[in-house]
Symmetry: C2
């Protein structure tokens, strides 16, 4: 598939899977309710994102590091709202 | 960081960020309610996961392909419940 640049596909994919958490963060913040959001999901997800970040640091892979730092902030924010708002 | 294998960290990270969606899928399925789940989040996320899958196929990277096929099924299932249950 030389007609399509794999790096470009990876960067767009990373941007989307990172920014996907923005509407959930905004929605939960606005509604001040989080009972539909799974606590377990965010605990497991955050653990996984911290490991992805570790992986990125080990390989000095900056796109992995940057995407996961942003995802980490967004998912921790959603987790904190889940704990506060229930 | 030679004392720690980066591939192993990557595999554990992928397993966690994929399986994180299982508790959300089960919770939404059990409650038959999805008003706390963001529709936009899952639309953006699924688009991103499809691109990660494309990236994995382009590079013949099986761990990326397998993790994203599973994530795709789980997130499409959550999206369908969001549409059905509102």
């Amino acid at each position: 598939m030389n007609w399509l640049n794999s790096d470009l596909v990876g960067y767009i994919a990373a941007t989307l899977t990172t920014s996907a958490f923005i509407p959930q963060a905004l929605m939960t913040w606005k509604n001040k309710r989080a009972e539909g959001v799974s606590l377990s999901m965010y605990v497991i997800l955050i653990t996984g994102v911290i490991l992805w970040l570790t992986y990125g640091i080990m390989l000095s892979a900056w796109p992995v590091i940057i995407a996961n730092v942003i995802t980490l902030f967004l998912t921790i924010f959603i987790l904190l709202m889940k704990i506060v708002y229930k």
